[in-house]
């Protein structure tokens, strides 16, 4: 019943919208301003147009005009003061936009409620159907349904999806398969375009009088528009089938990189259609422009990515707007590329890929979460809107159905795709170490879905040069529907039938990370011995360059020197600590030597693990005493939230300075430390660094966690040694220094303090600088990590990370 109510709601909203529009028209007529000028805002196809400003401006001068009229001519009857009035035109545009977005979100919600249908039919299909229904409804009411305008699509709907894909691109697999992806993207798309264009030209020549006038160039243009595999559609379908990472990155990477080819071909043929004759020079220039477009796009993206990384280095005092930098710089990269007709998609991806490692090292944990969720949210909404609008535009657009053209387009599209994949795979397999099996080839061919990009590109064609635009549109829509519905629906059972390898859902363990790095070094060494400059050699060189020069510029402070392994390890520990806190579980301390580090808390520890060397009893007692006394500072409440500051971070740099001093002292003291429990400051900066750059897949908090408890530990309460463990986690990094009395009373103390003199670097000395660290530790732990969402397993998982 709830589901039915949910489904009814958007219709209710639309019905509300319906009467408002004719109501407005009545009002317009009543003012008796000249008809044509009022007709204009309504005659424009669609409420959500590319010219909201124009219509708004139109409305205002017309209002003035109306007043003038009434002042000059007809004596207006004096109205009573309107206590309640309706002025819909004022908010019309934002209102309608919000309604559409709301509709999209409600649809998404509805699909998850009706899970039985969404198991069979992919979400994209359902959304197109909804779009068809909504379009039909609007038409039935008498209004003209909006068509997906190309500007809106390319400027607002597409970038979030591409940015989301680019920022979370699984870089390792992408670069390993880059050659294959490029060949599919470039050669495959070219083949598709020319094969299809040529064949359609032949069809047009023999196809009867209706088609004879379509020239070769028009057909080639049509071929280039429809030949590109669409990233939105591929994402939407492939995310749901959880296919193995190799296939996913191949098809998805191809759909991203073929944008350059599509852009070049499109502009090329559009220009050429105006020429009388196409010379060799034009073709050579066209060939050159491909390199300019693709490499230029990547270059623009890289520049913006580096600027963003550099900016993020200085944002330690204004953490709240960190995510905005990421979004803005990426969007600017996209727009800048579009200015010069370069490939905006490649710019966007390049900027996301370049900025990510450095930004993640610089920004706070919360900002990272924000970026992740905003990107997911925007891309999700965009995707939904695109599919709905596809449906609506189908109803709204003018169609010209020609059986021959449409059917032959469909047929040749499929044939071209299959042939292309087969031939290219045969060629590529000569160079691949892990060959692509026929099963893989089938999935790659079958996954060549077309989508909204083709539709929008066609819509951009102008009528005077391409008067067969309507026929093209119809054909494109048919192909899109076919691929999305038929191929989208059947790919899941086919994947199961063919027993294609699925994605492995587990996270990377520390073992995998260590051994993978080990193997990297090993293979680099072997390659050097053989004199073979392969993949590992260049990767190693890039890493070295990165470490030596780039990281120093782009990452703030100490983190620039942190080895990747350590960063990974701390991410893991951080995540585990959060999980532990959320689940409220307490693990027994496995008896290891370094009791000062949080790393020893492992929820998997068996109660009888005698695994590693045991601490002697009195050492354990010492540690517990230290920690217990330290815990008096851990009663922590966040201050009242100030929009401009996030509490923890201003002290980080001061802390880091103090830590560096302490590190030096400890190196000296390490040999003659009485207790093997040093005041291990070295752990603290890394603990604080653990806030940053969390692996997007890393968080899988328990579903039953409610509000995250803030750790307030009352040391006075009787506690068994075991239950101290949870609280022990917290100030472990501080190495147990008892607090000074005044801090105890003040609770949260945020004053940075100079460390006591070097001579006091001893376990038992009161270290006033402890409080920020322990409290920061707590803040880290009490940071509510991302919650388990029902969609974690669905389209919005970071793609194959």
């Amino acid at each position: 019943m709830g589901a039915a109510a949910l489904r009814a709601l958007p219709w209710a909203l639309l019905l509300l919208l319906g009467p408002l529009l004719p109501g407005q028209r009545l009002q317009a007529d009543a003012t008796r301003v000249s008809e044509p000028t009022w007709e204009q805002p309504w005659g424009e196809p669609g409420g959500i147009t590319a010219a909201p400003l124009a219509t708004a401006q139109e409305v205002h001068p017309l209002n003035k005009q109306h007043h003038n009229h009434s002042a000059e001519g007809h004596p207006k009857p004096r109205k009573a003061f309107p206590v309640l009035g309706i002025d819909y035109s004022h908010v019309r545009i934002p209102f309608e936009i919000s309604l559409w977005i709301l509709l999209a979100c409600l649809m998404k919600m509805g699909f998850h409620v009706m899970s039985s249908v969404s198991k069979v039919v992919p979400e994209s299909c359902l959304l197109i159907v909804v779009g068809l229904l909504v379009g039909g409804l609007i038409k039935a009411v008498g209004e003209k349904p909006p068509i997906l305008k190309s500007d809106i699509f390319f400027l607002f709907l597409l970038p979030p999806i591409i940015l989301d894909a680019g920022y979370f691109l699984p870089l390792r697999q992408f670069t390993e398969n880059l050659g294959t992806i490029l060949i599919f993207a470039v050669v495959g798309t070219l083949w598709n375009a020319f094969f299809l264009g040529g064949l359609m030209y032949a069809v047009c020549q023999i196809g009867g009088s209706g088609l004879n006038h379509i020239g070769l160039l028009a057909n080639l243009l049509f071929g280039s528009i429809i030949s590109a595999v669409d990233p939105v559609a591929v994402l939407a379908v492939f995310e749901e089938i959880h296919i193995n990472e190799l296939l996913h990155i191949l098809v998805f990477g191809e759909s991203l990189l073929n944008d350059a080819v599509t852009v070049v071909l499109y502009h090329l043929f559009e220009e050429f259609a105006n020429f009388e004759q196409v010379t060799i020079i034009d073709m050579v220039l066209g060939f050159l422009s491909f390199f300019v477009v693709s490499l230029g796009g990547v270059f623009v993206g890289v520049i913006y990515g580096l600027i963003a990384a550099f900016t993020s280095r200085f944002t330690s005092n204004i953490r709240v707007i960190e995510p905005l930098f990421v979004f803005l710089y990426s969007y600017m990269a996209y727009l800048s590329a579009e200015i010069f007709h370069l490939s905006g998609i490649m710019a966007l991806i390049a900027s996301g890929v370049v900025m990510r490692p450095y930004v993640e090292a610089n920004i706070s944990h919360k900002s990272h979460t924000t970026i992740k969720y905003f990107l997911k949210m925007w891309s999700s909404v965009s995707e939904t809107l695109i599919f709905i609008f596809l449906g609506v535009s189908t109803v709204a657009g003018q169609h010209y159905w020609n059986w021959t053209f449409v059917i032959s387009t469909l047929l040749f599209c499929l044939i071209a795709r299959v042939l292309g994949v087969l031939v290219l795979t045969w060629f590529i397999n000569k160079f691949r170490i892990v060959k692509l099996t026929p099963k893989d080839q089938f999935i790659i061919a079958y996954g060549g879905l077309r989508g909204a990009i083709a539709f929008s590109l066609c819509y951009l064609l102008d009528y005077e040069h391409f008067n067969m635009r309507d026929m093209f549109l119809t054909a494109i829509i048919t192909v899109i529907f076919f691929t999305v519905f038929v191929q989208g629906m059947t790919i899941r059972p086919l994947v199961d039938l063919l027993a294609v390898k699925k994605k492995q859902e587990t996270k990377r363990s520390i073992n995998e990370e260590i051994h993978t790095q080990f193997l990297d070094h090993l293979l680099t060494g072997i390659e050097d011995i053989c004199g073979h400059y392969g993949h590992h050699h260049w990767k190693d060189k890039l890493n070295r360059f990165n470490k030596k020069y780039v990281k120093k510029c782009l990452i703030a402070g100490e983190r620039s020197k942190e080895p990747q392994l350590i960063a990974f390890y701390h991410k893991m520990e951080m995540k585990q600590a959060i999980e532990l806190v959320e689940s409220g579980g307490l693990g027994k301390i496995p008896s290891t030597i370094s009791a000062v580090s949080i790393q020893n808390i492992s929820p998997k520890t068996l109660p009888d693990s005698n695994a590693l060397s045991a601490l002697s009893k009195d050492k354990e007692d010492e540690i517990r005493k230290i920690l217990r006394s330290n815990l008096q500072k851990t009663r922590q409440r966040l201050r009242s939230y100030n929009r401009h500051t996030l509490v923890a971070d201003p002290y980080e740099d001061v802390w880091n300075q103090m830590l560096m001093k302490r590190q030096k002292m400890q190196q000296a003291e390490l040999q003659n430390a009485y207790l093997t429990v040093p005041a291990n400051r070295i752990d603290s900066p890394t603990m604080s660094r653990a806030r940053i750059g969390s692996d997007p897949l890393a968080y899988e908090p328990k579903p039953d966690s409610e509000n995250l408890p803030i750790i307030t530990i009352d040391p006075a309460s009787p506690q068994s040694p075991e239950s101290m463990d949870l609280s022990n986690e917290v100030p472990k990094g501080c190495g147990g220094l008892p607090p000074s009395p005044e801090e105890d009373e003040e609770g949260l103390v945020m004053r940075p303090k100079e460390p006591s003199s070097p001579g006091t670097d001893d376990v038992f000395t009161p270290g006033t600088s402890d409080s920020p660290s322990s409290q920061r530790m707590l803040r880290c732990l009490s940071d509510p990590g991302p919650r388990q969402e029902p969609e974690e397993g669905e389209p919005f998982i970071p793609k194959g990370q």
């Binding site: 995998e512 051994h515 193997l519 070094h521 004199g531 080895p563 392994l565 496995p590 030597i593 370094s594």
Partner: protein, 198 residues
Amino acid sequence: MRKSKRSRRRRASPTVRSLACTVASPASTKAKMALLDLFIRTCCILALLSREDFQRIPELAINPLGDRIINAFFSEGEDQVNFRGFMRTLAHFRPIEDNEKSKDQNGPEPLNSRSNKLHFAFRLYDLDKDDKISRDELLQVLRMMVGVNISDEQLGSIADRTIQEADQDGDCAISFAEFVKVLEKVDVEQKMSIRFLH
């Protein structure tokens, strides 16, 4: 006059590439003739390699695992490696081909099988050859990979955690079987392969 390692290496490269693929396989006669031919041509140059020859490769010097890799070429107690030994070690890195999987089921496992590749890597960890990666051995490797800035305690806890994750029989060390299990999701066939033939 012994030629420098670099020129030797350059000449070794085509030899390596063309012979690595034949040395481990039950080669055809033609390939064996090619092998012999090349061996005769190069044996005057590549009679024996010593550790210094390897150390002359500059990239190996900065590779954290450089020494261990070099040691992997030399068998127990030897200071020189001949051509066959050199090839044998490199044969581990040949890509696995599909057609090999079907033939030779009863023969000895080829050097470039997944298991043998992993065993090669395992031997690089396991210096004392007790078929286990102990905590100390792991610590040494970590220290080499991570550099000098990280404290011993921290590395110690990473090592502990690593062993804890992998260890299944509770002996606080990683045996070969556990090693294989941990790496089951890593695409070792692709990762540990070098295309010798172009």
